[in-house]
């Protein structure tokens, strides 16, 4: 699949929601743990060799599954193949929690659901649609009907 790699590289240089050096192991059998600079930017997780400016790779985080992997680690896999896991090793419980929390929310789909939730709550409490003032209330992607209650 073609993709605009330059723009993805530029994105990897944007300010991150979270960045840290973690141990990382790929999904292939026999992979070893390597130190990587891991950086969360919007809905992408970039990973760099610790002394390089260009990322080794990126993971789009839509439809991902984040799971706890003892001790103090977590894994990321994807819905179409949940057993194919990228493993990450943190240096503490706190760091592991922090990353899992951040990754959980780092998807467009999660943001969309949050928006629909807030919009609905505000509308229930004030009788007003908060999206109207921004001229985006009609957009299909923000409609409550898209959620299964």
């Amino acid at each position: 699949m073609r993709y605009n790699e330059k723009e993805l590289q530029a994105l990897s240089r944007q300010p991150a929601e979270l960045a840290a050096e973690l141990g990382m192991r790929g999904p292939k059998k026999g992979s070893v743990v390597k130190r990587r600079l891991v950086k969360l930017v919007v809905n992408f997780l970039f990973y760099f060799r610790t002394d390089e400016a260009e990322p080794v790779g990126a993971l789009l985080l839509e439809r991902c599954i984040v799971a706890r992997e003892e001790p103090s680690g977590f894994s990321i896999s994807f819905m179409e193949d949940p057993e194919r896991k990228y493993y990450f090793k943190c240096c503490s419980e706190e760091q592991c929690q922090e990353w899992m929390e951040a990754l959980h929310q780092a998807s467009y789909e999660f943001m969309r659901r949050s928006l629909i939730f807030y919009r609905n709550e505000i509308q229930k409490m004030t009788g007003k649609d908060p999206l109207e003032q921004f001229g985006i209330s009609e957009e299909a992607r923000f409609q409550l009907s898209s959620l299964k209650e």
Partner: protein, 219 residues
């Protein structure tokens, strides 16, 4: 750079909500011909397929950091997705009608994760204010929409339950969106109030609209 392309392909064809879909002509390169492709916008990813029945995308345009503009082109209803930076690619696309073009321009201009996060943060603050018993913030003066209301092409809507993250249940608010680190400057817009930021996003659309109107007025 490695990328989880297989997951990307699944995201392209899964039944998550589609934000816009339709045929567009895509210019191959600077002097290349246009190819008719089936485009699907989902989140901040613009996928394109050989046709509507294809099971795997030909490619994807990642939309963070882009601007959408009208262009002078031989094709009618043409617009461009432009990225900043030297040697950055500009994607020239053409719709099959005025309405479709406007729908795409509107959808693509506001497709970034960044934009959605801004809106979510704004609503989160509004809800907190309302819950604290404060008066809801006065509504901003109603801007006439730059584009005719309604329709964003053939958006397909699914009722699939949310998966892979905690479902929103009852009145438990979702956790606030992750904050950017304060130490990481993002640019001149970072500290601007939301209304200003939204105005900035909206300006482009109004400019496009007025240019189109002007160009139509010419014989």
């Amino acid at each position: 750079m490695k990328l989880n392309e297989r997951s990307l392909a699944f995201y392209a064809t899964c039944d998550a909500p589609v934000d816009n879909a339709g045929f567009l002509y895509k210019k191959g390169g600077r002097h290349a011909a246009y190819h008719r492709r089936w485009f699907v916008l989902r989140g901040n990813m613009l996928f394109y397929f050989e046709d509507a029945a294809s099971r795997e995308p030909v490619g994807v345009i990642i939309l963070e950091g882009c601007t959408v503009e009208l262009v002078e082109a031989a094709e009618e209803f043409a617009f461009a997705v432009r990225f900043a930076g030297t040697r950055a690619r500009t994607y020239v696309l053409a719709a099959e009608s005025q309405a479709a073009m406007e729908g795409w321009v509107k959808a693509l201009s506001r497709a970034s994760f960044d934009y959605l996060r801004l809106v979510v943060r704004e609503l989160e603050q509004q809800l907190a204010a309302v819950r604290a018993g404060a008066c809801p913030p006065p509504p901003l003066p109603r801007r006439p929409s730059a584009l005719p209301p309604k329709e964003n092409g053939c958006a397909v809507w699914s009722t699939e339950a949310p998966v892979a993250s905690a479902a929103l249940s009852g009145s438990e608010p979702p956790p606030p969106p992750p904050r950017r680190r304060a130490s990481a400057p993002h640019g001149p817009l970072d500290a601007a109030p939301f209304a200003q930021l939204h105005e900035w996003y909206g300006q482009e659309i109004r400019a496009l609209r007025s240019r189109w109107l002007t160009s139509r007025a010419q014989p």
